[in-house]
């Protein structure tokens, strides 16, 4: 082979590698999305609670009391009323509690909303177990309709002693425009039954 031919082959090989790197990095950009969640999950950094129902607690630690605060807010200009039944509860770790959040759709449209929970301090999120939560599902509400949305939870007994106050915040997002039309109508039909 002449020098020129080897040079061309080298060029082809290098270009191939570089193009592959480009595609790999494009994929890596998207892989950052699940990696971000995994990272937050392992480190417990961003206060996300699990969106899977927890199993019931089997015993209660009566020696400690933790104060749990509830915050409910709507995102943007959502014309809804959204508030917790009580603003604060004193609970023992492992003890089951239930409360309702009151919502009312004050707009003139039928709307579907999604509540997104966040726990502060963030590390405590991993110890906040929800057995039942309205945030697990999308919530359809007709115009003017009101509802009580239930939450059943307990604080895990393993919660480190430095956490004496835990705040659970819910933000209500309007997702009416983000879901398909037939799914939208189906949600309301299911709601009626």
């Amino acid at each position: 082979m002449t020098d020129k031919q080897t040079a061309q082959q080298d060029t082809k090989k290098l270009v191939k590698k570089l193009v592959l790197t480009v595609f790999f990095m494009f994929g890596f950009g998207f892989a950052l999305v699940p990696l971000y969640d995994v990272f937050c999950d392992i480190t417990g950094l961003n206060g996300k609670t699990s969106n899977v129902a927890a199993v019931q607690s089997d015993s209660v630690d009566k020696t400690r009391t933790i104060s749990v605060e509830f915050i409910a807010r709507t995102q943007g200009n959502l014309p809804w009323i959204f508030k917790p039944e009580v603003k604060k509860m004193n609970v023992h770790p492992g003890e089951m509690h239930q409360l309702n959040f009151l919502v009312k759709n004050n707009s003139v449209d039928n709307m579907v909303v999604q509540a997104v929970p966040s726990v502060s301090p963030g590390i405590a999120a991993a110890y906040f177990n929800k057995i039942e939560c309205f945030c697990f599902n999308q919530q359809p509400l007709e115009q003017g309709q009101a509802a009580d949305l239930g939450l059943q939870f307990y604080i895990d007994k393993d919660i480190p002693p430095e956490y004496t106050t835990v705040t659970l915040s819910y933000t209500l997002f309007d997702i009416s425009k983000n879901i398909e039309q037939d799914e939208f109508t189906k949600l309301f039909a299911d709601n009626k039954n």
């Binding site: 020129k4 040079a7 061309q8 080298d10 060029t11 082809k12 290098l14 270009v15 570089l18 193009v19 790197t21 480009v22 595609f23 790999f24 990095m25 494009f26 890596f28 950009g29 998207f30 950052l32 999305v33 971000y36 480190t43 950094l45 961003n46 969106n51 995102q75 999604q114 997104v116 963030g122 933000t171 997002f173 309007d174 997702i175 983000n178 879901i179 398909e180």
Partner: protein
């Protein structure tokens, strides 16, 4: 992907003659032609983006809303940023790489000449799309060049798709350019030109090209996610659908921080070529320069969250990113000290390229120091999103990147045109730029520390005097750049004949070919001593 043998092209041109008129430029695969196209395009973009800066400064000349609507003001800040980053600074460096890298390593051309043609000619379309979106109903992008979600998803206007596609095209162009530079440097070096003999401009560009290949695809991914979030009901950045808007900032800055080094490493290379020439000494600490460049590039991947200190990161994260960021000042300091040591006891002369280089070293260092201040987490909570940040990144990008490009342009202009430029006019350009750029950006530090937020069309009256001064500096700096156009135009038209070496102390392969550099250089590789 073209891997056409470039000698075949050369022969075709020799035998049939290069096409003339516009077709010569449309079809050219010559690295010098494409380099010129890149440089002229970037000059045009520099003035368009500069025009937008003038609109911004005119509006901010006095408190209150005088000239433009707030929404249009936001479009101006956004498109000004996008054009200056992707249209002015990056293409200027690619243009310089096209012109100089093959000549510096003794190669006949870039390794992939046809791809080279493509990577340039898709660029004008990217910017046409971006600029046209300004005239659409609802206006152009108004969410800042960083296009944070949900500003760019939930709250953006209908032209966002055009923004996304234009960024895609810019990205593809940069990636192709980077691949070309890497392949050229790896495969087309003249025999004997080992890696550690390469001029520093070649080294810094090689490292920059790797950065481009690593992060431009991530940017492409980020804009694609914005596109699907806005138009196709995905929820990458929407908390309602299980996504996270803060994640946008992580992905964006994973691209964005290496990006700022993409815009400064080639500048380091240019300065490292110019300072030894006019000091008549070898560059001090060549290998430490190479390693410093490589360490800056590596560190750039682990500092991105210093842009996000106020997003509620945990303390451990803030400390990690703070210390990593501060670590970068070590290799950067190595570079600055090496330049100073190169000048130490050299027989200095102060031709225009050297004047721009010295201004670069001083003013870039000021920008570096304000960067160090911003890196301090607790202090950043006060500086975040104020004019202090604006002052910081304009010092590193205008008096850093742009000054180095000016220095490089003046340094190599006689080699490109064959004529010396009008030194008087060029000196006027330098002094006017130097004074006005500091009148423009230095007071921004003060208004920033006093709490003036960035990206606003109106401000508290306490900032009025400073803003008037800043605006006057801005107009003066903008007008001064017209002198640069005059110098370049005159130099292309004629003037005193330049020698092959051009500058007395200049060393390197590019100074061994005639001035102007012939259309084809080093068709047979030179001997490297």
């Amino acid at each position: 992907m073209s891997t056409t043998n470039l000698n075949a092209d050369n022969h075709a041109e020799e035998h049939h003659g290069a096409p003339s008129g516009i077709m010569r430029w449309l079809l050219t695969t010559n690295h010098k032609d494409i380099g010129s196209l890149y440089l002229l395009f970037s000059l045009l973009m520099f003035f368009i983006g500069g025009g937008m800066a003038m609109v911004i400064r005119a509006e901010l000349f006095q408190p209150g809303l005088q000239i433009v609507e707030p929404d249009f003001f936001n479009q101006m800040t956004t498109v000004h940023g996008l054009i200056m980053v992707f249209g002015a600074v990056m293409p200027a460096f690619v243009g310089l790489a096209n012109w100089m890298v093959p000549m510096m390593i003794g190669a006949p051309d870039m390794a992939l000449p046809r791809m080279n043609n493509w990577s340039f000619w898709i660029l004008p379309f990217a910017f046409l799309i971006l600029l046209m979106s300004l005239f659409m109903e609802g206006g152009g992008p108004n969410f800042g060049w960083t296009f944070y979600a949900p500003l760019s998803t939930t709250y953006s206007n209908d032209s966002t798709a055009l923004f996304v596609f234009s960024v895609h095209i810019m990205g593809i162009s940069s990636i192709m350019g980077a691949i070309n530079v890497i392949v050229t440097i790896f495969n087309l070096r003249a025999p004997g030109m080992t890696f550690m003999k390469m001029p520093l401009f070649v080294w810094t560009w090689l490292i920059t090209a790797f950065l481009l290949i690593a992060v431009m695809p991530v940017l492409a991914g980020a804009v694609t996610m914005v596109l699907t979030d806005k138009y196709f009901l995905t929820s990458f950045f929407s908390a309602a659908g299980g996504g996270d808007p803060v994640m946008f900032q992580h992905i964006f800055w994973f691209f964005g921080h290496p990006e700022v080094y993409i815009m400064i490493l080639p500048a380091f290379g240019i300065i490292s070529q110019i300072v030894p020439t006019f000091s008549r000494k070898k560059l001090f600490g060549y290998s430490s320069m190479v390693y410093a460049t490589a360490s800056i590039a590596l560190l750039s991947f682990v500092v991105w969250a210093h842009h996000m200190f106020t997003t509620g990161m945990p303390l451990a994260g803030e400390l990690f990113f703070m210390y990593c960021t501060m670590l970068i000042s070590v290799p950067t300091g190595v570079k600055v000290f090496n330049w100073v040591a190169t000048m130490w006891r050299g027989s200095l002369t102060f031709e225009v390229p050297m004047m721009f280089s010295i201004a670069f070293i001083v003013l870039f260092t000021i920008g570096g120091f304000s960067g160090l201040m911003l890196a301090i987490t607790p202090a950043d909570f006060q500086y975040h999103d104020t004019y202090f940040v604006v002052a910081h990144f304009h010092y590193v990008l205008v008096t850093g990147a742009i000054f180095s490009i000016m220095a490089g342009a003046y340094y190599w202009l006689p080699k490109w045109t064959g004529y010396m430029f009008d030194e008087k006019l060029a000196k006027a350009h330098f002094w006017l730029s130097l004074v006005s750029v500091n009148v423009l950006f230095f007071p921004m530090h003060f208004v920033g520390l006093a709490g003036m937020p960035r990206r606003i069309p109106d401000y508290a009256t306490q900032f009025a005097d400073f803003n008037a001064v800043i605006s006057i500096g801005g107009f003066a700096f903008g007008l001064s750049q017209l002198l640069f156009v005059a110098v370049v135009y005159k130099c292309i038209k004629g003037g005193e004949k330049a020698t092959d070496q051009v500058w007395e102390g200049a060393e390197g392969l590019e100074w061994e070919v005639p001035s102007p550099a012939p259309y084809h250089t080093f068709e047979t590789p030179p001997d490297i001593k």
